[in-house]
Structure formats: structure tokens, C-alpha cells
Assembly symmetry: C2
Homo-oligomer: 247 residues x 2
DNA sequence: TCCGTACGCTGTACAACGTACGCCGTACAG
DNA sequence: CTGTACGGCGTACGTTGTACAGCGTACGGA
């Protein structure tokens, strides 16, 4: 692996190399590689990106593992490409002129859909920007949704970025909760396996709130009665928190 | 590995086994193993938990790698023990009787300190509860901080849990931002390596807000001029958002 | 006192993983 | 026609977690 940031960025932005014409024609196209990688990550569920394997992807493409290294410097760059492609493929509602709450809600819901379609997007390191065209387009679109709020509240650019980050953080966290309700990984069976020891060890006298609230929260999450209650709660809290910026 | 949840929980809560007295005495104590593992994770920086290796820990303890498996069923359980120990070791301010904003601020700051002392705690999967004594004590303590707010706002138990989750999510996200300002991983050198390609590819006409805001946010984060600006922003937004629950 | 046995410890080994290296064959440039 | 640049990939190495079986210890029962 080269570990060369410039190379990775060029790949993300599809900046073509001089590309000498010698040798055999390429058997694949980068976009196909990324598309298959995305499909593989989606099939892998929540830890899809982590489970995305060079060998598995190669087999999927009918090619030897090492062949992929003529398209991509290494596995990490592949992950970046997959993430950026997911960002690029997001549907983006044009809410120009609408009230800021509606605009921010649209942004949150677009990201919620992203996390639902590609569960692994909720687990990408938020501190490690990809800086690809997809992420940039997403960033531009989402910053635009803050135009009215930024003006009303007198937000400077740093605060505008912080406000967007805040909204996306809350959205991602809610999406994570939603996921484990959906995939049933914390369903009745999960709790049943732990109940005996917990019953022996969780003293309601010592942890009164934890036992009571934990049971209520677990039950609410398990029963899909109101699956997006946590979602609505987080979104409403975030919007109200931002609304307080308007003096 | 047994992958037995009951076994893991028993380990977390230190529920002793019958413990036959035959054979050689044990050369280690579980708490020592966990302590050394914590030190190793701390030394590993942000990806400390991921970088925590059975072999490295064994060498650290002066023991063969496989020996650790007589103390712990597998690496994942080790990670759970380390996380729960970090939770258990947190300082917890008693803010009983104080106004709810002060109580919630204390909770947020305690978690901020946790993420600062052990950067890897900001990267544990929030959807995968450990259910150990440390996490339980932390949960109880933090739920208690919501007593006044829950009463004033008429929160039921499910909402109280959601509100705590909300506050911790925001705290964790802010801690992540703070980390990469601190460790300089996104410092001038990081940007310098990417600047040439970005200059070639980031069209300010096409991405006006992204270029402008991104530059401002990047500069603000790079210069440690105001390192906890994002932190204060997120905390204030979260508290204001929760305050709106009080009709 | 002696031995069977339970149990702590560990050397070896295997299946994943990412990927460095070098060979092979292709197909264009001269 | 030939030299060479380049795509494809077989092999192999280092690193990960951990299954398994052997070794030696030290107690319980005779």
C-alpha cells in the first residue's frame, strides 16, 4: 500500500492518470468494483464495512484478490470509496425557501434513510472526513439547509458547521438505536440469555433507577410498538436546542 | 471461545466459580489483567481498544498468550471488562438538590473527562451495552441527575432514558472532535498533504458553502485557539433542547 | 506415604486477514 | 518484428484470534 493521501483523493474524484495504452486492457471499471463492494457491505449488516474483505470482493468480481490492487491502493481506500459513493447516491430534497425547521428535518431524514439503506454508514468514524465528491456534495447541500437559521441566529461559519455536526450526530445516534431494534440483535432471546445472571446480580435496592428505567427502555425498544420514538425524541430535542439560538 | 453471555456477565460482576483447589496456584489476578489491558489501550491512543492484542497483553504480563484464556473466554470479553472498569473508575459528583442544568452539566463533564482520560471510550459501540457493574453504576448515577428534569417535564421512564442517551451522544460526538484537535492528526501536515488535489478539484463555484465553511471549521479546529468551542456549543444545544420539554 | 486427578500453563498450529514481491503474458510504440 | 510498459495473479509473509493437546503441579483420598 502506498498510503498516499493525494492518490486516494485523486481516486475519489476520479482524476484520471496519464494512462499509457500498453499492456492488456483492464478487465474491470472502478465503479463496478465500488458497486460490488457496496453490495457486499450491505449484505454484511451493521459491521458491513469492517466485514468488507479484499478476498470476498475479489471472488465476487470473479478475479484474484491481488488484482484489486491495480484499481485501488489498499483496503482503506476501498472503504473510503464505498462511503463516498453512498454519500453521492443520497437523495437530496431541495427545500429552498422553506422554514428552517422543515429544512433541517429534511436533512435529518435524508441521513436517516442513508443509515437505513446502508447500516454501516452509521458506524463510520465521524472524525475522519473522506473529502470525496459525494461527501462534499452532501456537505454543501446540508450547509445550505442552514441558511435561514444561520441568518436568524447570527451564526458564523464555525458555528454553522458545529450546528450541522450536532444535527448529524444526533441523527446517527438515533439511527444506531433504530438498527438494533430492527435487526432483533437485542430481542427477547438476547435478554433471555442474560436474564438469569442479571436477576442474581442487579440489586433493585442499590440500582433502583437503572433497573426500572433499563427495563422500561429495553421493553420499549424490543417491542416494535413505537419504533421511531427515540428518533423523534432526538430530532425534536436537536431542533429545539438550535431554536434557542434565535434570541 | 465460548461466546457465552452468562459467563461474560459472571466475569464482569466477579461472580466467583466453585473454584476447585487442585493444580498449581494462579499466577495472575483478573484485576491485574484488566489493569494492564487498560494501560495498553490507553497507550494505543484513539484506536486503543482495537489495538489491544492478546499477544501484546500477554507479553506485558510476562506470560504466554494462551494463558490469558484461563482468565477470560476471549478477546471481546476482555474488551468488555476494560470498558466496564473504566466506567467503574469514573469520578461521580453528587449533585443532589442542585438545579437540573447543573446536574446534567456535571454528567456531561464527567463523561468528557472519561473520554479524555481514555480516548477509546468515545469509540465503543453505544448500541452494545456491557451490563457490567461499572456501566450499571454509571447508568444509575446519570439517571439520578435527571430526577428534577423528569419531574418538571413529566418524562416517563422511556423518555428519561432517551434524554440521557441524547446527552451522552452529544457529549461523545464533541469528545471525538476534541480528540482530533488534540492529537494533531488533522493538523497542518494532514491538510498540506491533501491541499494540492483539493485545490484542483474543489470548485468554489460549485460548492460555495462547503469550501468556505469547511475552511473556517478546519482552521478553527486546527488552531487550538478555542479548543472547546464545539464542546460548549453541543452541550448548550443539548441542554436547551431538553429545556424545551418543560412546558 | 503415595498416587489419581483436576487444573493452570503453554507450544504448536490453523484459519482468517491485508498485502509485498515477482513472474507471466499481452499489446502497443518504434 | 521486437522491446517494453502494464494488467493480472500465484505465492508467501506477518499479524490477528484461538482450538487443541501435552505437561507438570499440588491437593484429596487411600
Amino acid at each position: 500500500m502506498a498510503d498516499d493521501p493525494a492518490r486516494t483523493l485523486a481516486l475519489l474524484w476520479r482524476v484520471e492518470q496519464p494512462a499509457g495504452t500498453r499492456g492488456p486492457r483492464r478487465g474491470l471499471v472502478l465503479d463496478d468494483v465500488v458497486a460490488h463492494a457496496t453490495a457486499l457491505a450491505d449484505a454484511g449488516g451493521a459491521d458491513g464495512l469492517a466485514g468488507l474483505t479484499v478476498r470476498a470482493l475479489a471472488k465476487d468480481l470473479g478475479v484474484a484478490p491481488m488484482t484489486l490492487y491495480t484499481y485501488v491502493p489498499g483496503r482503506d481506500d476501498l472503504a473510503d470509496l464505498v462511503v463516498d459513493a453512498a454519500y453521492a447516491a443520497m437523495a437530496r430534497r431541495d427545500t429552498t425557501g422553506r422554514p428552517w425547521r422543515e429544512r433541517l428535518t429534511a436533512v435529518a431524514e435524508e441521513n436517516r434513510a442513508l443509515h437505513r439503506d446502508h447500516p454501516w454508514t452509521a458506524r463510520v468514524d465521524p472524525g475522519r472526513p473522506v473529502l470525496g465528491p459525494g461527501e462534499t456534495a452532501k456537505y454543501e447541500h446540508e450547509l445550505a439547509a442552514f441558511d435561514e437559521l444561520a441568518e436568524s441566529a447570527g451564526l458564523d461559519d464555525v458555528d454553522r458547521d458545529a450546528a450541522l455536526t450536532f444535527l448529524l450526530d444526533v441523527t446517527r445516534a438515533a439511527a444506531l438505536v433504530e438498527q438494533q431494534s430492527a435487526d432483533g440483535s437485542h430481542g427477547a432471546a438476547w435478554w433471555a440469555a442474560r436474564a438469569p445472571v442479571l436477576a442474581q446480580v442487579l440489586d433493585p435496592g442499590r440500582y433502583p433507577r437503572a433497573v426500572r428505567v433499563g427495563a422500561a427502555a429495553g421493553a420499549a425498544q424490543d417491542s416494535a410498538r413505537d419504533p421511531d420514538r427515540a428518533w423523534r425524541f432526538g430530532l425534536a430535542r436537536a431542533l429545539d436546542g438550535l431554536a434557542a439560538l434565535i434570541s
